[in-house]
């Protein structure tokens, strides 16, 4: 860090002009700031620096990449797509008709645990091709209404799901709440032991405490001509409707998972799990997929090798670059700041 030399006293003694002593000099007041001579550090990336930077990145990135990969490998994940299996085979319109009918939609699935799964095991449902980030959709909600009983009528952002046919407000209003996921799952082991699912605490605490009102109760919900999804118990305040709270945190991407509950027992490798589900939710009308996911979690979250691979790639690349630059510097060294490299010194007279 080199500070510039102290400002030269370059201001020559001002010539005394006897004829104009009354004129005050307009000479700008000297300050390092106005003369643009503030102390400054002027970092220059020397070869040594460049190579060190690359090596440093390698040293940091490779271990993180490895750690991420290991973490991801340790995560045990069971994914089961059930939308096609739990509906009558046939054309899409058949499926749509089935899902819209009053028929019994119970469906049994069997999952095999590939590896030992440590509790807590997270149960997710995954929807594909469901644009929870669609502009019409994300806007169609009223956060005021969810939070405050007095703001019950704040529904003008909720269209087309703001009021019932006779004009009474819907709580919670809007497409987001209306389309709430309503498949249910219950799990049992092959020994017919029920696996309890905890549904408490699956939503964010901040949402329960501040975003969803303790005195706001569902009203006129799902009373319209078109049923979008789940019904809500009108005697439970919104702040306790954790499925709703989870659903209302709209997903970022068209393929997303949402937490359904937690299984708080370990599952052994080879265990088979019977799932009894109610296949109520209509994704057939828009070609969506539904999956059931059981997954353990690592410090990095779920199973995803991408970040580990990316880190290893960047770390490796930087190592290669460090080598390349070392070679360049060795093969073609250049003395830093050597004035002979200046263009007018290299080719005399050639501008």
């Amino acid at each position: 860090m080199s500070n510039p030399p102290p400002p030269m006293s370059s201001t020559p003694a001002e010539p005394q002009d006897p004829s104009s002593p009354r004129r005050n000099s307009k000479r700008p007041k000297y300050s390092r700031f106005t003369q643009q001579e503030l102390p400054a550090c002027k970092p220059i990336l020397t070869p040594r620096w460049v190579i060190s930077v690359f090596l440093l990145v390698t040293i940091v990135f490779v271990p993180i990449g490895l750690a991420s990969l290991f973490a991801s490998r340790d995560v045990v994940e069971i994914v089961n797509r059930y939308d096609d299996q739990c509906a009558p085979s046939g054309s899409r319109s058949d499926k749509v008709r089935f899902i819209q009918s009053a028929a019994d939609k119970t469906c049994n699935r069997t999952l095999t645990v590939p590896k030992h799964m440590k509790q807590p095991i997270y149960v997710y449902y995954q929807l594909d091709n469901f644009y929870q980030n669609h502009r019409r959709y994300v806007k169609s909600r009223s956060d005021q209404q969810l939070r405050n009983k007095n703001d019950e009528n704040e529904t003008n952002t909720c269209k087309p799901e703001d009021t019932t046919e006779n004009g009474t407000t819907i709580v919670p209003c809007g497409l987001v709440a209306w389309s709430m996921f309503n498949d249910t799952f219950s799990f049992s082991t092959n020994k017919n032991v029920q696996l309890p699912i905890t549904k408490k605490g699956i939503s964010w605490k901040s949402d329960r405490d501040h975003k969803f009102g303790k005195d706001v109760f569902p009203k006129n919900f799902q009373n319209g001509k078109l049923i979008g999804g789940a019904h809500l118990n009108e005697s439970i305040p919104l702040s306790a409707q954790e499925d709703l709270i989870v659903w209302m945190r709209t997903a970022a991407l068209p393929t997303f998972r949402k937490l359904y509950g937690k299984i708080e027992v370990d599952l052994q490798a080879g265990d088979t799990i019977n799932v009894i589900m109610q296949n109520n939710y209509n994704t057939y009308s828009f070609n969506g997929k539904k999956k059931l996911v059981l997954s353990t979690a690592s410090w990095l979250g779920g199973k995803n090798n991408f970040i580990g691979i990316a880190y290893l790639a960047v770390g490796g690349l930087c190592f290669v670059l460090a080598m390349i630059f070392t070679i360049i510097y060795l093969v073609k060294p250049r003395r830093l700041g050597d004035p002979t490299y200046l263009s007018w010194n290299r080719s005399p007279g050639g501008h």
Binding site: R27, F61, R147, L175, W204, K211, K225, A251, L300, W344
Partner: protein, 1180 residues
């Protein structure tokens, strides 16, 4: 040629302005208005200067047009319709027919009620604001409401608010100044008695009395003064910045009537108010006589009366119709080259924008079509609204409309692709740069106590790209402080030894009432000539010497002013006048014993060798640029009459009767030649005795001419030409004009920097060449091509010859690899008349571009502009013109950058210029240091702003592809609004103002570094595309790393949006940090401060429960993946950039890079030699 340099059609009447100017608010806010007026100037158009330019052509015709009636208002005659009638001392009658405006002034633009509408109206004149407004309005349509009301209006509102506050503050200050000005008391004649009246109550037609050192409240025609001859001295420093005293005269007919005692009445017919402060035309009817009035009879508002006890005048223009107020407008604005290029790239960016919008809307259309059947009940679309009786479509207007709406919506979402805020940032940066240029103490001229002035604020960065410098000579390269050197009197050259008069008896002095009077300036005298001038006998030579010095003392417009000194017995005579040459001549005459001690409009008193003589000044023909001479008709005490003429040799020899003494003429010509060849300015003096008959004829025609209503100027010129002939030659004088300090070094630096310096001067060829040598512009190794022709054909021939020679020479030098010998072109004004505006221009251009130096001598003001235009129209190179006088105004306005020297010759050049400074040598720090910095900073800032905004838009765009093309932004609307306002705005401005790629020292040591600006190294199309590719890569990294890392997870859109927000702000700021070269605490504070501010803003936004993203950032920050993503994004996005940068730095280092390294390691290297410290020691 004399100092009465051809005065240009004053652009005062066209484009000039008096920067900060009325008397009152000038004094207290000297620095601030400078900056402020600069800020505003960008919005003003340069209509005036353009229209002026358009009407000019530069060849021979142009010159004649310039001098003829068309241009100068003062020469035009008053039409009955255009006249204003002022009844002296009868304001009621004066104001009865025409409602002339009162004397209250309002420089304030707004009142309390008009502020809001007017200010808004003015602000929306800018394209940038209109763009913001249109986008904001679009967003208000319910179908298009992408952002909430608040978020969409905030950026516009904040900019409007800041500007409005600034305008309001400025206006408040103006109102305050106006109030002081309007309430100042002045003495006005009411009912034949002078009473105090507030300035604002003065009416046209009233008689105003002004005492010494008082400021004139309105434009008044002088009626009488305390001086019995009716002279009043005024200082016009508030008006045009000239500090010397000027004389104003009361007319003979009125000067004896003192209002209050005598009744005075009359009618003044004068021209309509106009902004020409150097012209006034009127006539006055007093007692049935018609008297003409000119510029010397009017005192303008803002002037100060000096050396005169009082002056009485009648108000003719008041309030906002005064010339001072009419001149109170902004400087002409130019647009910088960089900005022009930038606009080209902005058009490209808008193509990008449209492309993105078309992609989005087309995809949206396809998506909707494909899902046409599913839309009705699709949970995330739900086209049907079931809440009504009738099930109908909700917010769906058919496929076509939906595509159209999504196009408009994408324009709203991607609006910042076009970096409109860049225009505002650029303005701020330029203000900051101007601040530093003004404050630079290396550009402060102690001698004239002037700071650097930044008058135009739009072209700071142009200073870093100049290829051609056109310089005036007198007053620009030289000091314009004239010193009398040699004289040639009737063929005898007196250029012998000099006696220093300092210290001895103190030079020539005279005794007046027991007091010693001596001239203020001492002059070196020739001892032989001094002796000769003191002997008074009737020999021919001593008579000639007598006449010569009498001519010097009398034939001028100098006013002697007696100044008290500390010694009560000693007084100094200060010769005040507008021309430094005349001053020098009068001082010289005084030193030889011909001391001018009194001048009134009717007579002069000259002390000749201790004997006081009074001469009547019967008439005076002032200098004009056609005749290039002036003459005075003197009535001797013995009632003989003689005409004395002095002027430039070319015109003088035409009117000298050579038959009288051919040998004298010949030897004088030789002397003149030798004087001018050592760089002296020469003048020739002639004389003729007039017979009574001749005098009578002259007098009648002179009187007719000077009271003429039509074509007075032309008539007077004719009268002058008639009398100025058959003169006998008295002699010639040589005046030295010293080269300014540091000029040779400055020219050397400029030349090393690859800048071609052309000198355009009105001086003679020999003078110009000798100045060329002494300023190191010309060297003995150069081959000189001189073009000096009198016809078009000969011009053509010599141009062709010269081209051949220069080609040959250049081939030779190329072969010998020796750049020392080069070609210098010297061309004179007469040849230029034939070349400019004809097909020969092309050849001249070709020749000139081969020459290292071009000297143009004897050029008329408009030819100067013509030469600048020659280069400007044919090349893409930037031109800079520097000059100090009125004759340089045209070229200053023509060049890309105009620099005025605020020196001796008035302020017209400064008023027309973009930058003004005290000395020529400041051009070096101005261009090489500040220009370089400004260019680098601004170029970087533009590219960076393109990158910054495009990056954000690309990230939004990628996300749109994952939302069914519906323009959802996961980044909260507040973050997208604050992105360019808070998150990333300040660092780029700070870096644009403060970063320095190289130190002042390196830039001055290696002027060649300036070449980077000339070669457009820091901003060009290639860099733009590289930046855009880099932007694309970075946007891919920022978007897709989180996308893939959180694929198939339960991440919610607010959390992911926060991650993208933070990532993009981090890398945008880190990107900047990587390019910052000098890290001062301010840059640290702004860059890291912005990152911290962003984090705080994101936290605040996420702490509002009413927003969907409530608490997202806290949940996100508790997950490890977030931090890992962030780190990965930062590194991965920067890698390509870093590699390219490092590779270029090492393998293809640019000069700036090497100089930067040298700057840093020079010390280290020296230490290495002495001690054992390693050279490349990491400095951190």
């Amino acid at each position: 040629m004399t100092s009465n340099r051809p005065s240009l059609p004053t652009p005062g009447s066209t484009g000039s302005d008096l920067s900060s100017s009325t008397s009152s608010n000038n004094s207290d806010n000297n620095q601030i208005p400078n900056l402020h007026s600069l800020q505003n100037s960008s919005s003003q158009l340069s209509i005036k200067s353009n229209s002026w330019r358009a009407s000019v052509n530069f060849g021979s015709k142009g010159v004649s047009v310039a001098d003829s009636e068309g241009f100068s208002i003062s020469r035009r005659e008053i039409n009955e319709d255009d006249a204003r009638l002022v009844y002296v001392n009868d304001p009621l009658k004066t104001n009865e027919t025409f409602e002339f405006c009162g004397n209250s002034i309002r420089t304030g633009k707004y009142s309390v009620f008009t502020f809001l509408p007017r200010n808004l109206f003015e602000q929306f004149h800018r394209v940038a604001y209109m763009y913001f407004l249109i986008i904001a309005i679009l967003n208000q349509l319910p179908q298009l409401a992408v952002f909430g009301r608040g978020a969409s209006i905030l950026p516009l509102a904040s900019v409007l608010f800041v500007t409005a506050v600034k305008d309001a503050y400025e206006d408040w200050r103006r109102h305050k100044a106006d109030k002081i000005e309007n309430n100042r008391l002045s003495s006005v004649l009411v009912n034949d008695q002078f009473q105090h009246k507030r300035s604002k109550d003065i009416q046209v037609g009233e008689i105003v009395k002004v005492s010494a050192d008082e400021t004139i409240p309105c434009d008044i025609v002088v009626l009488c003064t305390s001086d019995p001859t009716g002279v009043a001295y005024v200082q016009t420093i508030n008006l045009d910045g000239e500090s010397n005293l000027k004389t104003r005269y009361a007319k003979q007919e009125t000067l004896s009537r003192v209002p209050g005692k005598d009744v005075i009445s009359g009618l003044i017919k004068c021209e309509k108010p106009n902004r020409n402060i150097y012209g006034f035309q009127a006539n006055m009817e007093v007692d049935g006589k018609r008297v003409s009035l000119g510029p010397s009879n009017i005192i303008l508002r803002g002037c100060v009366i000096k050396n005169t006890d009082w002056a009485v005048g009648v108000a003719v223009y008041a309030g906002r119709e005064t010339k001072a107020m009419l001149n109170n407008s902004g400087a002409p604005s130019k647009r910088s080259r960089l900005e022009t290029h930038m606009n080209r790239e902005i058009i490209l960016l808008s193509f990008f924008l449209v492309t993105l919008c078309i992609i989005v809307s087309a995809c949206a259309g396809f998506w909707l079509r494909r899902h046409q059947d599913e839309l009705d009940i699709m949970p995330f679309y739900r086209r049907k609204d079931y809440s009504k009786e009738q099930v109908e479509n909700y917010n769906y207007y058919g496929l076509g409309m939906e595509i159209f709406f999504s196009f408009l919506m994408s324009v709203i979402v991607f609006q910042i692709m076009i970096p409109i805020s860049l225009y505002i940032s650029m303005e701020l940066v330029r203000v900051g740069q101007a601040y530093f240029m003004i404050r630079d103490d290396k550009m402060f001229d102690a001698a004239s106590n002037t700071r650097f002035q930044c008058r135009a604020l739009n072209i700071n960065e142009d200073l870093g790209q100049i290829k051609y410098v056109f310089s005036d000579k007198t007053g620009t390269l030289t000091e314009n402080k004239m010193e009398f050197q040699f004289a040639s009197i009737s063929g005898v050259d007196y250029s012998g030894e000099k006696i220093e008069f300092y210290g001895e008896q103190g030079g020539y002095n005279i005794q007046v009432d027991g007091q010693v009077w001596r001239p203020k300036m001492k002059v070196q005298v020739d001892s032989k000539l001094l002796k000769l001038s003191k002997t008074r006998n009737d020999t021919k030579s001593s008579k000639e010497i007598y006449d010569f010095f009498l001519a010097l003392a009398a034939c001028n417009t100098i006013v002697p002013i007696v100044v008290n000194t500390s010694n009560p017995n000693e007084k100094l005579i200060d010769y005040q006048g507008e021309s430094p040459d005349e001053q020098a001549l009068v001082y010289a005459a005084a030193a030889y014993g011909f001391m001018l001690i009194e001048r009134t409009s009717g007579h002069i008193v000259i002390d000749i060798q201790g004997e006081r003589q009074r001469f009547n000044v019967l008439g005076m023909h002032e200098f004009d640029s056609d005749r290039k001479r002036m003459s005075v008709i003197l009535g001797y005490p013995d009632s003989t009459v003689k005409v004395f003429v002095k002027g430039a040799d070319t015109t003088m020899f035409k009117v000298i009767d050579e038959s009288l003494n051919l040998s004298v003429v010949k030897s004088t010509e030789n002397h003149l030649h030798s004087y001018s060849s050592i760089g002296l300015r020469t003048l020739v003096v002639g004389m003729r005795a007039l017979s009574i008959a001749e005098f009578d004829t002259w007098q009648t025609s002179y009187e007719i001419a000077s009271t003429a209503l039509m074509g007075r100027a032309g008539l007077l010129r004719k009268v002058a030409v008639n009398i100025e002939n058959n003169l006998s030659l008295l002699g010639a004088s040589a005046i030295e004009d010293r080269l300014q300090k540091g000029v040779p070094e400055a020219i050397e630096s400029l030349r090393k920097a690859g800048i071609k310096v052309w000198v355009l001067t009105g001086d003679k060829q020999e003078t110009a060449i000798s100045i060329g040598y002494s300023s190191k512009l010309l060297t003995s190794k150069m081959m000189q091509i001189i073009i000096n022709n009198n016809s078009k054909m000969s011009c053509k021939k010599s141009l062709e010859d010269a081209l051949v020679t220069s080609r040959k020479l250049i081939n030779v030098t190329r072969a010998s690899e020796d750049d020392a010998s080069s070609v210098a072109l010297i061309i004179d004004g007469t040849s230029l008349v034939y070349i400019l505006d004809s097909e020969l221009e092309e050849q001249l251009f070709e020749l000139a571009s081969k020459c290292a130096v071009v000297l143009c001598c004897r050029v008329a003001p408009l030819q100067k502009a013509g030469i600048v235009a020659l280069i400007k129209n044919r090349t893409d190179d930037m031109t800079l013109a520097i000059g100090d006088g009125a004759n340089d105004v045209s070229m200053i306005q023509m060049a890309d950058v105009g620099v005025g020297i605020s020196g001796q010759e008035g302020r017209q050049a400064v008023m027309a210029s973009d930058f003004a400074m005290g000395q020529f040598r400041f051009l070096v720090p101005l261009m090489l240091v500040h220009g370089h910095w400004n260019y680098q900073r601004m170029a970087y800032m533009i590219l960076y702003n393109f990158y910054r905004n495009a990056l954000f838009v690309f990230i939004l765009f990628w996300y749109v592809l994952y939302t069914g093309f519906t323009l959802t932004t996961s980044i909260t609307e507040w973050s997208s609004v604050l992105y360019s306002v808070i998150y990333t705005a300040i660092p780029t401005i700070v870096v644009g103002i403060l970063d320095k790629d190289l130190s002042r020292k390196s830039l001055m040591t290696y002027p060649q570094l300036y070449g980077s600006g000339q070669r457009k190294e820091s901003y060009n199309a290639k860099l733009f595309w590289v930046t855009m590719v880099d932007t694309l890569w970075q946007s891919v990294v920022v978007f897709f790393i989180p996308l893939l890392a959180f694929w198939e997870s339960d991440i919610d859109s607010s959390s992911l949006g926060d991650l993208w927000t933070l990532a993009v702000v981090f890398i945008v700021n880190i990107h900047l940090a990587m390019d910052v070269i000098r890290w001062t605490w301010i840059s640290h504070a702004s860059i890291w401060g912005s990152i911290i501010a962003t984090c705080i803003c994101v936290i605040i936004i996420d702490a509002i429960p009413a927003l969907p993203g409530y608490w997202a950032i806290f949940n996100l920050a508790s997950s490890g993946l977030f931090w890992i993503c962030l780190l990965g994004i930062l590194i991965a996005s920067m890698i390509p950039r870093f590699i390219v940068k490092m590779f270029m730095q090492h393998c293809k280092p640019c000069d700036r890079q090497i100089a930067r390294e040298a700057e840093k390691f020079q010390n280290a290297m020296e230490i290495t030699r002495n001690g054992e410290i390693e050279m490349n020691l990491p400095h951190r």
